[in-house]
């Protein structure tokens, strides 16, 4: 579904990703694991077209999204839940969701489906995003991306700084999306959280792709994780 082919990219002249290739199938959760600065967030920004590609291609469902204009990446069907949430904080919950709805001109019933996943947001529609609690903000960031009814979903540390009940709520939604056939690329620091939800894990080191293993195999053998993450 979502494929990166020998992608090179970075910030200005500072190259971060080097010949990175990966594939996420529909209905699969692929987790990127790596140290700080390994290029996990850079991978996501590159897919979204927020960083220029030096070479390589990003494909979604047979379409070359890296050849599209920046604002057409979302229209192709990629929902992005960035690190730190990055909501439109001065806008209301309803307006944030409207931004998600307009990206692919989603049908009105999509909003109802999304709000059924996050009933708490329904009570807060008129509230400004900056007045929400951390967990509610993460719900809103997730809901905003789901309003696109995406083919692929990028989640960058969605559980960072959240209380356990919120983490569980977010995880339930991720699993539900997988069941609906969405290709999910997840960046997560907490290894236990990764292993409980991911289908496959790809390690990334100095902007290069490392081993790709099934989560099952990793649960049995932790040594690879220690080698890449090194605690």
């Amino acid at each position: 579904m979502l494929t990166l082919e020998r992608v090179n990219s970075g910030y200005g002249r500072a190259q971060v990703l080097r010949d990175l290739s990966l594939t996420v199938e529909a209905g699969e959760i692929l987790c990127l694991l790596g140290r700080n600065g390994a290029g996990k967030t850079t991978t996501m920004k590159t897919i979204m077209g927020l960083l220029p590609l030096m070479s390589g291609r990003v494909m979604l469902d047979g379409e070359e999204v890296s050849a599209l204009a920046k604002h057409d990446v979302a229209r192709a069907g990629i929902g992005y839940i960035p690190q730190g949430r990055r909501l439109f904080t001065g806008l209301t919950v309803a307006q944030n969701l409207e931004i998600g709805m307009q990206a692919r001109r989603s049908a009105p019933e999509v909003l109802d489906e999304v709000l059924d996943l996050f009933p708490r947001l329904r009570e807060r529609m008129g509230q400004r995003a900056q007045t929400l609690s951390g967990g509610e903000q993460q719900m809103l960031a997730t809901a905003r991306a789901l309003c696109l009814r995406p083919k692929a979903l990028l989640l960058d540390e969605p559980t960072e700084g959240l209380q356990p009940s919120m983490i569980a709520a977010i995880r339930d939604v991720i699993v539900k999306m997988r069941a609906q056939g969405v290709a999910i690329l997840l960046v997560e620091q907490r290894v236990d959280a990764v292993l409980s939800v991911a289908d496959r894990v790809m390690f990334i080191e100095n902007g290069r792709g490392g081993d790709v293993m099934s989560a099952e195999a990793l649960r049995a053998d932790h040594s690879v994780i220690d080698r890449y993450i090194g605690v």
């Binding site: 979204m48 077209g49 927020l50 204009a69 920046k70 604002h71 057409d72 990446v73 979302a74 229209r75 992005y80 960035p82 990055r86 439109f88 904080t89 001065g90 806008l91 307006q95 409207e98 931004i99 998600g100 307009q102 990206a103 692919r104 905003r144 696109l148």
Partner: protein, 308 residues
């Protein structure tokens, strides 16, 4: 004549100035707020509005109201289109970098000014107001212990000046409605808050920028069309509005539209009143002093949000 009627007269003159200033400054504030571009050429878009208004009124002939009505619609549209072209050919090329856009818009200022000098010439030319009835204003006095009304000699305004104030209020309400109530306004506000995320959610940021730059310039041009029956069109007339618009935008809070309007009323009225009672130079001195005080004690402006 006593003090009261003078004060009323000065307030009315100040209100006309505040109206025109509010339109100009809201255009500048919109461009800065959404695009983070400090548009030094804003005063030249104002000037172009006045010059086009003269050309249109001149070519149309006939009743002054006809030419003026056409100018009121066409001049802002033409100036807006020029601004959109400038955005796409210049500002987009320098990636909206804050420093480079300042230099680029300084260049644009000189290009527009010199082209106008070459084409339109150095003369100041008037545009006839569409209507200009003199309206005498009443004042009150105590006579034999009762309040009575009389018409002091010289206390008057014109129907056109009142129409300028009314038109400015209507346009400002329109801008507010566009930002708060329409889809394009929502896209503009989202772009203002987080350009990258706006792009990641399918908002064509470059098209939004071009539109905002066009609307900003169009507002300046509209302000100039309204003022040109009072002030005449001249190729150097953009300097004063630019300076005052910057003063207003800084006092009101960069990018805050309500703050900009409040500051425009404050500066416009005080300028009108101080100019009548003391001197126009003192009015400018006080306005500049107010900017300095705001920058020292409240750098985010009266209505601006503190940046984290």
């Amino acid at each position: 004549m006593e003090l009261g009627p003078y004060l009323l007269l000065a307030t009315l003159e100040g209100a006309v100035m505040a109206s025109v200033l509010a339109l100009t400054a809201v255009g500048l504030s919109l461009v800065f707020g959404v695009m983070r571009v400090v548009n030094i050429a804003h005063g030249e878009f104002y000037m172009l509005g006045a010059v086009f208004a003269w050309y249109i009124a001149h070519w149309m002939g006939g009743h002054p109201a006809l030419g003026f009505a056409v100018a009121l619609v066409v001049a802002p549209l033409v100036v807006g289109a020029i601004a959109v072209a400038a955005d796409m050919t210049i500002l987009k090329r320098v990636s909206y970098d804050p420093e480079r856009t300042i230099v680029a818009t300084i260049g644009l200022l000189y290009i527009i000014q010199q082209l106008t000098l070459m084409g339109y010439g150095p003369e100041a030319r008037p545009v006839a107001p569409p209507f200009n009835t003199r309206l005498a204003l009443p004042w009150f006095e105590f006579k034999d212990g009762a309040l009575s009304m009389y018409w002091p000699w010289g206390l008057s305004t014109t129907s056109y000046k009142l129409a300028v104030i009314g038109a400015a209020i209507v346009v400002l309400l329109g801008v507010w409605a566009m930002m708060a109530r329409t889809r394009i306004g929502l896209l503009m506000r989202a772009t203002q808050q987080d350009r990258d995320m706006a792009q990641a959610f399918g908002i064509p940021v470059e098209r939004v920028y071009a539109l905002v730059f066009g609307i900003g310039a169009g507002l300046a041009a509209l302000a100039a069309v309204l003022i040109v029956p009072i002030q005449q069109a001249h190729y150097l007339m953009g300097a004063d509005p630019l300076l005052l618009a910057f003063i207003v935008v800084i006092i009101g809070g960069l990018g805050s539209l309500p703050g900009t309007v409040v500051a425009a009323i404050l500066i416009g009225l005080s300028d009108g009143i101080i100019s009548v009672f003391f001197s126009p130079t003192l009015a400018k001195i006080l306005a500049t002093l107010l900017v300095a005080l705001v920058l020292v004690f409240r750098p985010q402006g009266l209505f601006g949000a503190r940046r984290s």
